[in-house]
């Protein structure tokens, strides 16, 4: 599959990139980071036009994300209603929605370029919790443009080393996921283990 996608990218350029990143952002497990890194190399070689590649890469990512959001919003809401009891009742679901409304921008923005494996899940969750779509779109466009520029830029800078670059980016992405987990769990541990001050 990977070989076929890379061959299509190498042969058909930006339109192939658009299709691949759309599908990946919508939730299909495709090696989108590698595609963007190879795109950077193809730009450095003069095979692909930088503006078309970056523009269609961003557009494809946003289209895929909106598909995921739409599935969550129009398909997931029914599931949430049906299983709200199992999820702790409607009060708990409303609390989750409020939390997403306050902190959803960070979830959307950082899962576009830093903790990318969580991206499709955040799209679904944002739709299910009815995070305002115009705010989702804003942070999605900003995050995806940063992501495309970052990966394409790396591929451009290391254009003769793209296949060696991919595992590094993969490991760093998972390291970022682990780092976020450490920070969140550490925060929770501090608040749980901190000795309570006696009431005055």
């Amino acid at each position: 599959m990977r070989e076929e996608l890379l061959a299509a990218l190498s042969q058909y350029g930006s339109p192939a990139l658009f299709v691949i990143v759309s599908a990946a952002s919508a939730g299909l497990p495709l090696p989108v980071a590698l595609m963007l890194i190879v795109t950077g190399s193809l730009i450095a070689q003069g095979v692909m036009d930088a503006w078309w590649a970056i523009g269609l890469g961003c557009a494809g990512s946003v289209v895929g994300d909106m598909i995921g959001y739409g599935i969550g919003r129009f398909g997931g809401a029914r599931l949430v209603r049906r299983f709200s009891k199992a999820m702790g009742g409607t009060k708990r679901v409303d609390q989750a929605k409020k939390h997403v409304r306050n902190w959803g921008w960070a979830g959307v923005f950082f899962t576009r370029w830093l903790i990318t494996p969580l991206g499709p899940w955040v799209n679904l969750a944002s739709g299910i919790t009815r995070y305002p779509w115009e705010r989702f779109l804003l942070w999605d466009v900003l995050g995806e443009c940063l992501s495309v520029a970052l990966y394409v830029g790396l591929g451009w800078a290391f254009s003769d080393r793209v296949m060696s670059l991919e595992p590094i980016m993969g490991e760093l992405t998972w390291a970022a996921v682990a780092l976020v987990a450490v920070v969140l769990l550490g925060w929770r541990a501090i608040s749980l283990w901190r000795p309570k001050r006696p009431a005055e």
Binding site: L6, S10, Q11, S41, Q45, V47, M163, A189, L192
Partner: protein, 109 residues
């Protein structure tokens, strides 16, 4: 929220696991980073002749010549497509390219 020993144990274990994963992935990234300046990249069937020429720092005409293909301005066919058209396995195409790269580097001043 009540503080129970099960809660503390679960949180402690989760934190330890997250720290271990952070260490493992960081170590592996550093290991791959060391290999970044190592040998040439392997040649794959999805790569085009100009792509291989770029990653191996040799003129693309040399590689087109090694495959018996007329060097065109925008020939970005993957090697496996060339192999299919020449009715031979992609491995032999890659082998021919590797030989041509070695020869071209030997001639380089």
């Amino acid at each position: 929220m009540p503080r129970t020993w099960q809660q503390s144990l679960g949180l402690g274990l989760a934190l330890a696991a997250a720290l271990a994963l952070l260490f493992v992935f960081s170590y592996r990234a550093a290991h791959h980073l060391r290999l970044l300046h190592g040998d040439d990249e392997p040649i794959h069937g999805w790569m085009s002749v100009p792509f291989v020429a770029h990653t191996h720092h040799v003129p693309k005409e040399v590689l087109f010549d090694a495959l018996g293909v007329d060097p065109r301005q925008r020939d970005h066919r993957p090697l496996r497509v060339i192999a299919r058209e020449q009715k031979r396995p992609v491995e032999t195409v890659i082998h021919d390219l590797q030989n041509a790269i070695t020869k071209a580097r030997g001639k380089a001043p």
